[in-house]
Symmetry: C4
Subunit: 298 residues, 4 copies
C-alpha cells in the first residue's frame, strides 16, 4: 500500500513538474507539494489549520451580530489570510517547472479563486457577495487529504463509486423521469390553488417527497392528491433503496476481496479470457491451465 | 454481452416485423427502430434531443410568468414538435410489417398519446389540461435507452428487482397492513379535532410518517398519540430497512457472481466440483468440459 | 420446500386438532383450516375478498361525507359481513377437536374480536368508537397468507429478523438511550419557551429528528440548539444505518446460501462441534473425517 | 465465547483492583462489580430496575401537570434514589483496592455525577436546571450491559464500527465539506430575507436537508434556490447511502465469517488450502493440524 500511496502522492504534482536537482526550488517543491519529508508534513498541517481558521472567519462574518461587532478584527484577519495565501500561491508558481500547467489545473484555479475576491472587493465597491466565494478555500483541504493520511480510503471509496458509475446513471435517469412524470401528474391533480403553481414547482415537490425530505411547504390537499402522494412515498423509498444497494454491493465485494481492483486479474494463456474464480486452476472458457492463483490474503 | 444486447435490440421491434429484403422500408426500419447502423444511432440521438426539448417546452409553458410572456413562441414550437412526432409516427406505421401490432404495443400507444393532445386541444376548446399528457413523451426516451447504451445495466437492475419480486410483495403487504391498522389506531386516539378527520386521512399520515417523509401538515397532538407516533417511526424505519436489504442482498450476490438457490448449480463431470462461473465452459478445477450453460437471459 | 410448507400448513391448525376419520367435520376442517384441497383454496380466496371488502366499508364509513350519505347501505353491509364472520366463527368452533384451544389461540381471539364490536354497539349505545376495532379483521388475512402462497418468503424474512434478534435489541437500547439523553439535553438547552415543554416532549422531538421524519412541529430556535440538532441528525443517520446493515447482512448471507437455516448443520462425529465450512471434509476442531458435504445447490 | 466474556467481565473492574483473598471486601466486590455469581446477577438486575425507576421520576418531574401535582412524592422518591446511589457509590469505593483509580474512571465519574446534583440543589438555591444532569444515570445501565447479557453483540457491533473508523472519518469530512460549501451557496442565492440569515443558519438548513430530516422551518423560496435544493437532496441521499454501505459491508463480511484483508489468512501446512474458520484447529480439507489461531479478541 505504501508504494501505491507514494506513487499517487508523486504522480499528481509531477504533472506540474518537480524541478530537477537538489536546489532551493526543488526543496520548496518538496515542502509545498509533497508530504514525504517532515518539513512537507509540517507545512501541510499548518496549511490545514490556516485554511480552517480562514473559513471560520468567513462563516462568522456572515452572522449579523458577530459581523457587526467585530468588523475591524475580521477585516484585519481576512487580509492576513489573503496575504498568506497569496504568498503561498506565488511560491507554488515559482517552484514548479511548468507554472502555466499548474495555474490551469483544478487546484491552481481554486488557489487563485481563494485569494482573488478580497482584492476585487477592494477595487470594485459593492462586490461584498463575491467575498463568499472564499468558502471554496475549503476545497484546498482536499489536496492535502489527497496526498497524506486518508489517501487509501478515498481511493477505495472513489473506486466503489466509479465502478458503479453506469448503475448510478441508470438509477438517476429513472428517478428524474419519475420526478418529471409524477410531478406533472400532481400539477394536474392538485393545481395552482394548492401550491402546485407550475410543473417545475411540482417537480420540486416530487423531489422533496421521493427523497423523504418532506419539508411540508407544499403538501397535497385533495383526496386524490394524497393517495398519489402516498404511493409516491412508498415508490420513492423503494427506488431510493437502489443507490444504497449499489454502493453496498460494491463495498461488500471489495471487502470480501473478490473481483476488487486489488486482486490481479489472471488472463488465460490459451484464450485470453478473464473473470476466473480466484481459486480456479483451469480456464473456464477453454480449459487451458491457468497460472497458479495468487495468495488471496495478500 | 454483445450478443445478448444485439438479441435484445432485435427481439423487441422484431415482433412488429422487420420488412424482408433490402428495400426502402427495410432501410427506414433499420434507421427508426434499430441502433446497429450509424444512421440508426444518429436518428436515436436526434430523437432524444427533440423529445427533451419538447418536454422542456411543456414544463416551461406551465410557469405562469414564462407561459404568459412567450405564449406565441411556445405555441409555434409546440406545433413544430407535434408535426415532427406525427411524421415520425406515420413513418413507424409505414415501415413495419404489422402496423396494427405496433399501434397496440406499449410504445405505439405512447407515441400516439404524445401527439394527440395538441390536435384535440385544437378541436375541443377548454381541453388545456389534457395538454399535460404530452409529458408522457418522456417515456419514449426509454425505448432508445432500451436499445442502446445502458441496456446491460437496465437488465441487471431489472433482474435484481424481478428476482426479489415475491419478497417485495410480502414486504408491501406487511407495510400496507401496518398502515391500515396503525392509521386506524391513531384515528381513534387523536380524532378529527387534531386533523385525523377520517381513516383514509390517518392512513395518509401513517404513510407520511413510516416512510420518514414527515411533512408536518398533520401531527399528533395528544400525549398518547405522540408516544404511538414515536414507536411507529422506529418501527417504520425498521420495516423500511427491509427493501434496502432485499435489493442489496440481490445485488451483492449478483456482484459476487453467485446465483440464488433457484439456478441449478452445474457440477463438473470430471471432479464433481461446483461453484463454476455461470458462463464457464470448462471446469476450473480439473479442466474437464462442463455441460452447456443455461441461457442467462431467459 | 413443498414438504416444509405442507408441514407448516398442517402444524398450526393441528394443535386445535383435526377430527379423525373422513366425516363431515373432517371435511369442513379441511376446507376452513387447510389449503391443500381445491375447496380449501377456493374458501381462502373468497375469505380474503370478503375481509378486504369489510375493511373497505370500515374505512369508508369513517369519511364524514361518505359515512353520512350512505349510512343505511353501510349499516346493511356491515351486518352482512358480521353475520358471515359469525357463521364462519361457529363453523370453526364446530369442526375442531379442541374448541377451547382454538378459541384461546391468537387467531381465535382475532376471529372473535372481528365480530364482537358490531353486536356490542347494538347493546351498548354510544360505543361507536369500539367499532373501529373491526379493523383487526385485517390480521385474519395473515392466517391465509401463512397457509398458502407466500409462506416461504414469510418464513425466510422471519428467520432473517429472528437471527438478528439480539443485534436489534442492542441497537434499540442504544437508540432509546440516545433519545432519552439527547432529548433531555435539548430540553435544558431550548426550554419550554421554544416548544420543548417537558422531557417526554423533547424525547418525542428527538425521535422525530433521529429517524429523519422531521415534522417541523417542534424545531430548535436557539443557536446552540440548532448546532446540537445538526449533530444529532448526522449521528441519527449513522445509528439508523445499523438496522439496515443488520437486516442486509442477514439476507445476503442467506442469499449466498451460507450458514443459512436451510443448510443442515453437520456435527463432527468425533467431537460434536458444529459450524463447519459447507465444503469441509474434516472437522476443523479435532481433524476427524466429517460426513460428506450435502449438495449446496439443493 | 464464554471465555472471552468472562475475560472481558474481569478485565474492566480488575483495573480498579479486586481485593485479594475471600474476605468481606472481596465478596462485596464480586456482588457489585461482577456478574458471575448468583448474588452478582441479582444485584445487577435490581440496580437496573432502580436506575430505570429513577430516570422515570426525572422524566415525569419535567412534565408540568405531573411535576406540580405530585411534587412532594417526587421529592421523597428522588431523595430515596439519591441516598441509595450514594450508599452504592461508597460501597464501590470501599471494596476496590485502588479507590482513586475507580473514582477517576469513566463509570466512577458517572456514578458521582448521578448523585451530586440532588445535594447541590439543596445547598445552592436556583440550581434546578442542574437536576437534569441526573439523566446521565442512564449511562450506568451500560456498565451492566457490558458485563452481562449482550456483551457479545456489543463487541461485534463495536468491532464493525471500529473496523470502518477511517472510512467513516472520510465520509464525515466529505459531508461536512458539502454542508459548508452548499450552505454558503444557498446563503448567497436565497439571502437573509428568505430565512437564510447567516452561513451557520444555512449550514443548519443544509444538514436538515441532506440528512432528509426536512423540518420545513427554513425552505428555499427562489426558483434557483429550489433547483439547488433539489439537487442537494438527491446528492445528499447518494452521499448518505455511503455509511449504510460501510456498516453493511463490514457486517456482511463478519457474518460470512470472513475477515478483512488485514487479518492474515492461515494456510494448511498439509495441503495449502485456505479459507479456514478463524477458530479452526485442523485443516478442513486434509485434516492436518493448523497453526494456532490468532487471538480474535485482540
Amino acid at each position: 500500500m505504501t508504494d501505491e500511496r507514494r506513487n499517487l502522492a508523486r504522480r499528481a504534482p509531477a504533472s506540474y513538474g518537480k524541478p530537477a536537482g537538489e536546489g532551493l526550488r526543488a526543496r520548496l517543491f518538496e515542502i509545498i507539494f509533497e508530504s514525504d519529508t517532515p518539513a512537507g508534513r509540517r507545512f501541510d498541517k499548518a496549511l490545514i489549520v490556516v485554511i480552517l481558521l480562514s473559513i471560520l472567519v468567513v462563516v462568522l462574518e456572515s452572522v449579523p451580530s458577530i459581523g457587526a461587532r467585530y468588523a475591524a478584527t475580521m477585516h484585519v484577519l481576512e487580509w492576513g489570510f489573503t496575504l498568506l495565501f497569496t504568498a503561498e500561491y506565488i511560491a507554488r508558481l515559482a517552484c514548479v517547472r511548468r507554472p502555466l500547467r499548474y495555474a490551469t489545473s483544478f487546484f491552481g484555479v481554486v488557489d487563485l479563486v481563494s485569494v482573488l475576491p478580497t482584492y476585487v472587493s477592494l477595487l470594485v465597491p459593492g462586490s461584498a457577495v463575491l467575498l463568499d466565494i472564499r468558502i471554496l478555500r475549503l476545497l484546498r483541504v482536499f489536496r492535502i487529504f489527497k496526498l497524506t493520511l486518508y489517501v487509501e480510503e478515498y481511493t477505495r471509496l472513489g473506486h466503489a463509486l466509479a465502478a458503479s458509475r453506469r448503475k448510478i446513471m441508470v438509477f438517476l435517469s429513472v428517478v428524474l423521469m419519475a420526478i418529471v412524470v409524477l410531478g406533472t401528474l400532481m400539477y394536474v391533480v392538485e393545481g395552482p390553488e394548492n401550491g402546485f403553481t407550475s410543473i417545475p414547482m411540482a417537480m420540486y415537490w416530487a423531489t422533496v417527497t421521493m427523497t423523504t425530505v418532506g419539508y411540508g411547504d407544499i403538501t397535497p390537499h385533495t383526496h386524490l392528491g394524497k393517495a398519489i402522494a402516498s404511493c409516491m412515498m412508498l415508490l420513492g423509498w423503494g427506488i431510493l433503496a437502489v443507490p444504497t444497494g449499489i454502493v453496498t454491493a460494491e463495498m461488500t465485494s471489495q471487502r470480501l476481496g473478490r473481483r476488487g481492483p486489488r486482486t490481479p486479474e489472471r488472463g488465460c494463456p490459451g484464450c485470453g479470457s478473464t473473470g476466473h474464480d480466484p481459486r480456479a486452476r483451469f480456464c473456464k472458457d477453454c480449459g487451458a491451465a491457468l497460472s497458479p492463483p495468487s495468495d488471496p490474503a495478500a
